[in-house]
Symmetry: C2
Subunit: 208 residues, 2 copies
């Protein structure tokens, strides 16, 4: 990628089209970006995002998760990540729960993005539930991963107004646009060593 | 108040200083505001907001709630509101739960403001819990009151970024400034007949 060894090596985990993976790949192409995408790993051979990564000249791997215990899968995943020298992991639409052991061993170096203003609207079917609730604001959250799903110290969030006529599909598009902006920004902060975790809170050194 | 009979008569219920009551009173002083404050009622004689209302030439009443059953208190409250010709009720830091019967009889005409982006952070000690959660956005919500506490169709919300160095006190100040802007805006929409409730969602006719 023509970047120096001083940048952090990032592994991105996907299960589908990986639109946030694309946003991270594009951001990392900037000369001053402090991280490089070392590998994109999917738990399904048919994950559409793999083709994009290959076309960008990025190493890819498929580690099938189907029928495998969490422990076996996570051990294979961990080995692949270390083989590619990965220092930071970004989950990007990765639809497989990771074991507490894996998560703990990557604590502080494992990021996820969720399409709501956490702690509101954890889980799935987020946009449906947001619309049903009648709330006027939603958003997205980049957070450190902890063993509990959709918890973990929050790094950055963006708020998105919910239009009166929103459908789950139109709202997903609006929130995705913010996700694609926010995730690279959070990765940059982590790669630059500018995040300090204090209990459940994250402080951004030098301002975000 | 020098306003015509075409404006809606509003009763405001307070328990303390009633800073949102003050914001509503000030907004209603504008010549084009579609509601007038007919009475401010407190459930405690020592509620500081009463003096302000009196000084503004607004009728006030104290209906002590202490030691009274909810049913008895709500019946007295209802009588006082009707005596003042009240058509819309605004709760403004009113710290007494209302009976389901009272709430149902005022359905669609009874507003509350809550210092969070509902449905997140219902209940009390909101700012403490917001800060503890590490979330980057909070806000405030004006909603129709239903028998369940801090539920009910959401009319308007404002989002407020949580500063890194926020304390419950400084965050309360930031959110209050938005509350004072938002509550009059929601009252205006209701008084103008521009709110349509559709299940749990509120549509603002003509845009907010």
């Amino acid at each position: 990628m023509g970047q120096s060894g001083a940048t952090k090596a990032v592994g991105i985990l996907i299960s589908g089209r990986g639109s946030n993976m694309r946003a991270l790949v594009q951001a990392a192409q900037a000369a001053d970006f402090p991280a490089r995408i070392a590998v994109v790993i999917a738990n399904k051979a048919e994950a559409e995002g793999l083709d994009y990564a290959k076309a960008q000249g990025i190493a890819t791997a498929v580690i099938p998760s189907k029928g495998k215990s969490r422990e076996v899968f996570d051990a294979e995943l961990d080995a692949a990540l270390r083989q590619h020298g990965v220092e930071i992991i970004c989950l990007a639409g990765f639809m497989r729960l990771l074991t507490a052991g894996f998560v703990e061993s990557w604590r502080g170096r494992l990021l996820n993005i969720h399409p709501s203003l956490l702690p509101a609207f954890r889980g799935t079917q987020v946009h449906e539930r947001v619309i049903e609730s009648g709330t006027r604001f939603t958003g997205c959250t980049v957070h450190f991963v902890v063993p509990e799903m959709d918890e973990g110290p929050i790094i950055l969030q963006a708020a998105v107004p919910v239009p009166d006529d929103a459908t789950p599909e139109t709202l997903a598009e609006l929130v995705l646009a913010e996700e694609h902006r926010l995730y690279p920004q959070a990765l940059r902060l982590l790669a630059e060593g500018r995040l300090r975790v204090d209990g459940n809170r994250v402080r951004v050194l030098g301002g975000s």
